[in-house]
């Protein structure tokens, strides 16, 4: 009997604690915003906008697409230029080689061959 009443008392005490705790939510009366709330907010928005202007531009999909297209065009152009240079270089090298070779065979050391080519068989 005594244990039952102790249990009941304990239960009532816990219930009271729960009620008081839940009451906190009802007691949370509405509070008004700080009088500088709006001023602070507008200042924050201004600084945020200034800071994020560059970032926002980078974050825009059309800007990113434009950047990608520009990069692609730049890559293509540089590839085209380097290919052009390579082909003109190889042409120059071939021309130079031919020139050198003709110079080489017409050099003084090979004069004999020139002479032999102009040798007249019919003459005695």
């Amino acid at each position: 009997m005594k244990q039952e009443s102790v249990m009941k008392l304990k239960h009532e005490k816990i219930e009271e604690e729960v009620r008081s705790t839940l009451k906190l939510l009802n007691e949370m009366g509405p509070f008004e915003a700080h009088h500088l709330f709006r001023a602070k907010l507008m200042r924050r928005i201004e600084t945020d906008l200034k800071q994020n202007n560059g970032g926002a531009l980078l974050g825009r999909p059309d800007f990113r697409l434009a950047c990608m297209i520009m990069l692609l065009l730049f890559n293509l152009a540089s590839a085209f230029v380097s290919m052009q240079q390579e082909s003109s270089q190889s042409m120059t090298t071939a021309g130079q080689l031919a020139g050198t070779q003709s110079d080489y065979y017409s050099a003084q050391e090979f004069a004999y061959y020139d002479q032999t080519t102009s040798y007249d068989h019919k003459s005695p």
Binding site: I14, E15, V18, L22, L25, M28, A33, H34
Partner: protein, 180 residues
């Protein structure tokens, strides 16, 4: 001042109290609630062009307020976990242990802050939808229909969520006080 700015100022003036008090219900701290309310309106300003009139403007704003408050609570939880890990590793920062400034009556403050902590812990264990529905139902200014719109659910679902939240919260608080 542009017409957009003018319109934004009107929106802030109209909704700031409810946004502020909604955030306060979630975070139990006035300063954090003010910071969060500012974040809410910054977000509103930034995303205003993306607002499609599928819902009411107020519903959209309060949904942002709820999301920001829940994000804040998640951040706090993560920070708590991290600081307890730091404590275990012996890397705790002394500044973490400095108590917040107290009110006029220290004993009363301590009791109410302990109570608030018990309540917040119990609320944290509730499923998110129950917690949102319950806290918004406790706030003046929200009809059940508005809560349903914020949660993107039906009116009957909100009533059920609030009912279950009350029951769960009572049980959790009872268990918590029984342990002590």
């Amino acid at each position: 001042m542009t017409s957009r700015d003018e319109m934004f100022r009107n929106i802030v003036a109209e909704h700031q109290e409810l946004v502020l008090n909604t955030c306060y219900r979630f975070v139990f701290n006035r300063e954090d609630a003010e910071d969060l309310a500012q974040e809410v309106f910054v977000e509103v300003f930034r995303s205003f062009d993306q607002f499609r009139e599928e819902s009411k403007l107020s519903t959209w704003i309060y949904r942002i307020a709820v999301t920001k408050s829940l994000d804040h609570l998640r951040r706090v939880k993560r920070k708590k976990r991290f600081s307890s890990l730091k404590r275990v590793l012996g890397l705790a920062d002394a500044a973490d242990n400095i108590a917040a400034p107290s009110m006029n009556n220290p004993a009363e403050e301590l009791a109410s802050s302990e109570r608030a902590k018990v309540l917040q812990d119990a609320l944290d264990t509730l499923p998110e939808s129950q917690k949102i529905a319950f806290l918004l139902s406790k706030q003046d200014g929200y009809s059940n229909q508005e809560i349903a719109d914020i949660l993107n659910t039906s009116l009957s679902a909100v009533e059920s969520l609030v009912h279950r939240a009350k029951k769960n919260l009572y049980n959790k608080l009872y268990a918590s006080y029984k342990k002590h």
